[in-house]
Symmetry: C2
Subunit: 693 residues, 2 copies
């Protein structure tokens, strides 16, 4: 009872606190004149994008709901709730972000760095708290309202699937949109027209500003919302399908542990957020990084009494340790990304150094570090996963598997803090853009640039965290998928393990195909970005051609047209990768059967982790190598070395912000669909049909 | 009895035929004057490289032998034989290549394209026949001399390991050498000094010529020799460890099947080689591609009676079908590489088209196609593997696993033809270089360039084939590794399958780490190439500085010094990736145990297939996009578009010729070491120790 009250109140507190922050931000003055005008353009653009995107998402979610109702009405209801929760969190987060950006600029102008940081961070935190608050609250409410039974937990899988559907569109569509706008605006603006970045004469500039919000607020929010609810729900599913076989009614307490850890995460986020402060003239990147580590420690402190309360001292201490290793793995993944992308560390410096010999070596050296950056996170996650298994398998095999899923929950208990720090990035990025476009003075732009730079560091960390946690969430889904096989077939554990063997040709065939899926997904997203960028380039050229006064500040560019063209095209090009993610597991399952599909899921997950980390890190390494040269190293801006790093940055942009993060969605979506379709695939598949006939 | 005679005579025929070709080539006139002088430089450089490399290889092989003797003296003997066979094949192949190149140039000058093609192809064929002839002959002889028992088959694993050790050095060291020489010579020559490619004033030009032989002859030869003997031996090991449990003495015929298929491959290669002819003025790339397909058909025709003779009509027809699917998979992999890298197909054209917008889009579009090129080969191999399993599993589970290994043998029965066609490439490349450096007339260079272009097409095809067959060979090793676990532990099949389950935390941990290994290996090789290129650049600059007469043709550059500097450095930088490949499986095995190690091996294999195909294909796509522009498209040579494609080509060079092919070695070496160390790892590993205490 206490546990339920705690979880429910954590959810409610998070949402109320988010509303409080909204009130705080809206109360800040947005300033006057040009900055408000630009802010309004961004606001309109963002609204237009979201309206279009959410219309498409909700219609497709509607179609999927129709298919789910016959399987289970509660599953369908949960699906709708999952989609709506994700949309609500993303919309609120993005709405407040576009209101916070102008206020950050204004505060930088009127009050200085401390106040500006507070507004920007609070703006980001609205999204962070909405994600964890809505997620935790709705999961526990569904569980209670559906009757608190094992069957009701299985229905909640729909909630994950709903979140996945939205994440697919928000992350992949948003990624294509944001990078197409970025590359398109830059290529015509900087290269062809010779005007600076963020110049108001560029018709694509608002599309670019909007893109930051679309990708890093709505996209990242939906991605981590999916991981967050996915890891909690998979852990509960394992308790309700496999642990129930051993512990009878005792499974309920095991199912409550992930919700308890999530609540600990919520309270820790709020406390930690109060610590994110910077003195006037201080470095704003320090408190952001520190927040993640302090947040992790607080979560651990709050988790221990909770797990002991639910599972007694022995089980409590062990599950607590599993959670701690999940948190540590999350921090390792984040810090590794930081090392490989931080301008003060060797990789970025070496890429900049080698760029003196031309762009080919910029690319090659970057690729080399990108591939290297995979090892430590992989070993970190492998270790956490192994320890989690061994700590709990003393209760029995399935408790070990439950431990693997719980490690994901541990890692994702950082979600509130990470999403807050990440959503801070686009707010300051926009704030700096507004300062530039409004032609504010040097000292204001120095502040907004400093805030923006801190945002970039956190973006790298969050990107690593997002893919690491996506991989662990996918593994949790796969564990839940296996326990569902046990549940549906009624086979013994030995039999299920045997059927899932590496010594099975179907499993290996599945793995061979699975490993190619993140690669092909990458292809589709990269090509979509580069084609969409061309569409925007054409539009910008058309505006320059038809309104020659734009470049002399005599005519206004049509920002709205540029936004709507990229929006439509991005959503159009989302169809193929989206269908691939949805259909691939079903087709593989119907041909290779449930065991071959498991091989595909595992291979896609581990290969996705590798390709995702590679792409996210290499993109940020190139980005920061360019910035490092711009600071005056190796000839500085305008030198040949700088040109080489610009090429690196342009290559890295779609990798780090579009195709790389899209892999997070792919691996989770494939697994959750498999989990939902498990029953059908077990009964109807080609290999068993052939084996029987 | 007939089978043994057939296999032995196939081996002997291949070696004798190779000697005949050597005699034919040496009998051709090498011409007079400048071309002989340049030929002599290449010969000296190649000798110097090989001497240094083989000295290092044989000393390390000596150390490994010392460790193997206490495990089993026969194993150690086989190891030495494997290393020596690979060295012998590689040395002969490279020695004849440097003699064939000058004769090809001379024939192009004196006789025309038909004769020049014949000499170049015969030169390549010496390597192809030495690889298959020595491999087949020595395996059957070891088997007979060791007593023809199941134990004797287990000793022959040493032969694979010996081949692997040499392949590691020849392929990885050769890759680092050849690309460092290529990039280094190009950067200083073309970019800094403004002299054309292959210009005799460039002190790095001979190092570059030598590199073609070192990488594509000695390196590719050792790589495919390893796959060739590895697939045959793993199939035999499965027969001798697992099938013996079911069929008693009947296992011997199953063990002979792979040798029979290999013999069919040898006879087919020789017959096919006679068909590689071109009329005066014809296109030399056609007969090379056709040879692969005709060769495949001939092998199938020869295999059927053999398998029926060994296994009766039912088993014979089924094993025959397995071999056919292996061949088809090999051809699919090769043709897919051709599609993605052929200048007449969409991917290369689109990369060239997008290059008009600058190098960033050259790189991005190339990366996109590189990732896409993975899917079809992966599906092809998965299908072949699945069909192979199902065709033979009607005899029992292990026959299905045997089928998987036999599919690899089927694919590798093409080795003779593929290696011949591939080694043709560097001969014509060198021939074109000699023609250029000797300043021969336009019409001679038109012929050598045409021959060279045909070589490039085959190089792409062979690269795809090499990685595809390496992955299948690694799977065959892993199958043999599993049957060794069965053999050593005495567990039931169900138990072994259960322990190798995807539902085992050790297996998944192993997979997470395994997937990172090809990525890290790529990093080490790329960084080695780019550092080694800098070492050569410094040396070339030094020579230009200290001997200013070189550029005015007044002084001779010191070619030998440039060769020896790159050689030493390449071999030095081979140490870390080499140790990684050797130590990683042992460390993983000693920590995670035999089942966790299996997870690593499978993950490294499937991820290695993906990364290997990606790197091999993207490199050739960029190479050919550059050539496409040089033919006059989008502004032709010297245009901005051309500059963009040159950056793509420079990035792709180390990927396609150094790091990509190195992954072939990594995945096979890891598996064969695991196979040899299986017994130790089963008995001594951390996870079992902890579980017991």
């Amino acid at each position: 009872m206490i546990a339920y009250i705690l979880v429910i109140s954590a959810g409610i507190v998070a949402i109320l606190y988010a509303f409080g922050l909204v009130w705080y931000i809206l109360k800040q003055p947005e300033g006057i004149g040009k900055i408000v005008e630009i802010h309004n353009y961004i606001k309109e653009g963002a609204k237009a994008y979201l309206k279009k995107q959410y219309t498409v998402i909700l219609s497709i979610a509607g179609v999927i709901t129709v298919f789910l109702v016959p399987i289970s009405p509660l599953l369908a209801l949960s699906y709708v709730l999952g989609a709506l929760s994700s949309v609500a969190a993303g919309y609120t987060g993005m709405w407040i972000a576009v209101h916070a950006n102008v206020r950050t600029t204004n505060a930088a102008k009127e009050k200085g760095v401390a106040k500006a940081l507070r507004i920007a961070f609070n703006g980001g935190m609205v999204l962070g708290l909405m994600v964890v608050g809505l997620g935790t609250l709705l999961i526990v409410l569904q569980y209670l309202i559906y009757g608190g039974t094992a069957e009701s937990v299985k229905s909640i899988i729909g909630y994950s699937f709903g979140a996945s559907t939205v994440a697919l569109f928000a992350r992949v569509g948003g990624g294509i949109y944001t990078k197409a706008a970025d590359i398109g605006a830059d290529l015509v603006g900087k290269v062809e027209a010779g005007i600076p970045e963020d110049d108001p004469r560029n018709p694509g500039v608002i599309a670019d500003n909007v893109g930051d919000n679309v990708g890093d607020v709505a996209g990242m929010g939906a991605d981590l919302f999916e991981s967050y609810v996915g890891s909690i729900i998979s852990t509960m599913v394992i308790a309700a399908t496999a642990l129930i076989l051993y512990s009878g009614g005792g499974w309920v307490n095991w199912a409550l542990v992930p919700l308890g850890v999530a609540s600990a995460g919520i309270f820790s986020s709020i406390i930690t957020s109060l610590l994110v402060r910077v003195k006037e003239g201080g470095d704003p990147s320090k408190p952001l990084t520190m927040a993640t580590i302090i947040g992790g420690i607080l979560i651990a402190v709050f988790t221990l009494p909770l797990t002991i309360y639910l599972l007694g001292p022995y089980g409590g201490l062990r599950t607590f340790t599993v959670v701690v290793f999940g948190i540590i793995a999350g921090i390792i993944v984040g810090l590794t990304s930081d090392y490989f992308t931080n301008p003060n560390k060797a990789p970025v410096k070496k890429v900049a150094f080698k760029s003196q010999s031309g762009a080919a070596l910029t690319i090659l050296t970057g690729l080399a570090y990108g591939f290297e950056s995979v090892l430590i996170p992989a070993v970190g996650i492998a270790t956490a996963e192994l320890i989690a298994y061994f700590l709990l398998s003393s209760y029995g095999f399935w408790y070990g598997i439950y431990g693997v899923a719980l490690a994901a929950v541990g890692m994702l208990s950082l979600t509130g803090i990470v999403v807050s720090a990440d959503a801070y990035g686009p707010i300051t990025d926009n704030a700096a853009g507004i300062a530039e476009q409004a032609g504010l003075g040097e000292e204001v732009r120095a502040i907004t640039d400093k805030l923006d730079a801190a945002g970039n560091t956190m973006k790298s960390v969050c990107k690593g965290f997002a893919i690491g946690s996506a991989a662990l969430t996918a593994l949790a889904y796969i564990a839940a998928y296996s326990s569902t096989i046990l549940d549906v077939t009624g086979f013994t554990l030995s039999k299920v393990r045997e059927l899932l063997s590496l010594l099975d040709a179907k499993v290996i065939s599945g793995a061979l195909i699975g490993v190619a899926l993140p690669a092909v997904f990458t292809t589709l997203v990269i090509l979509a970005v580069s084609d969409a960028a061309f569409v925007l380039i054409e539009e910008i050229r058309r505006q320059f051609r038809e309104k020659p006064g734009i470049l002399e500040f005599k005519e206004k560019p049509d920002y709205g047209k540029a936004v709507s063209i990229v929006t439509s095209y991005a959503i159009k090009r989302l169809v193929t990768p989206g269908l691939l993610a949805i259909i691939a597991p079903i087709v593989i399952g119907l041909i290779l059967g449930p065991y071959g599909l498991a091989g595909s899921l595992v291979a896609a997950t581990v290969a996705g982790l590798m390709l995702g980390l590679f792409q996210g890190n290499v993109g940020n390494t190139w980005d920061n190598a360019k910035k490092y040269v711009e600071e005056g190293h190796y000839g500085g801006k305008g030198s040949e070395t700088h040109k080489a790093t610009v090429i690196g940055d342009t290559v890295g942009d779609p990798l780090k912000d579009a195709s790389g993060p899209s892999i997070n969605i792919l691996i989770k979506l494939m697994s959750v669909i498999s989990l939902i379709a498990a029953q059908i695939i077990i009964h109807y598949n080609l290999v068993s049909f052939l084996a029987l006939h």
